[in-house]
């Protein structure tokens, strides 16, 4: 490859990595909102309790990703729908 050329596989890999991080982020936002945010919306700011809960929720969510990732790597499968 010439200097300044574009390595398309490297780009594609980066885009996949980006998509995965975005997906984790979006699911983390949704999950931690349902765990930590009051549904009353009496004010627009995060309360102290909500803020602390969010911080811990993010940490635990990342840890849960690891626990389940290991589990899934062990078991491998169960992903073959309809005998395809």
């Amino acid at each position: 490859m010439s200097p300044g050329g574009v390595d398309h596989e490297k780009i594609e890999g980066a885009v996949i990595e980006l998509d995965m991080m975005t997906d984790v982020f979006n699911r983390m936002v949704a999950t931690c909102a349902s765990k930590c945010l009051s549904q009353r919306y009496a004010e627009g700011d995060l309360t102290k309790g909500e803020s602390v809960c969010i911080d811990r929720c993010v940490g635990k969510f990342i840890e849960a990703n690891k626990v389940i990732g290991e589990k899934l790597r062990e078991s491998g499968g169960g992903l073959n729908p309809g005998g395809i």
Binding site: D23, C57, A64, L79
Partner: protein
Amino acid sequence: MDFSRFNAAEQAQLNRVIEKKQMQDFMRMYSSLVDRCFNSCINDFTSKAIGSKESTCLTNCADKFIKHSERVGTRFAEYNAESHTSQQ
């Protein structure tokens, strides 16, 4: 799916598509496991780290859900095989 109606070149192309889809399915399974099991098992946000009870719950939940998916897959395949036979 019945592959007998495809020639070798077509099967090769289909296999590449299927491989890619299996990767996507794996990622979707991973995501749905995390969401589901986190939701069921993690309800204490007074501590920062996942406790041993929570960890066991996550592992059992993932285990059970994987077995559930496998069982659904097996039953679904049986129904598809039956309906394929009865159509002939």
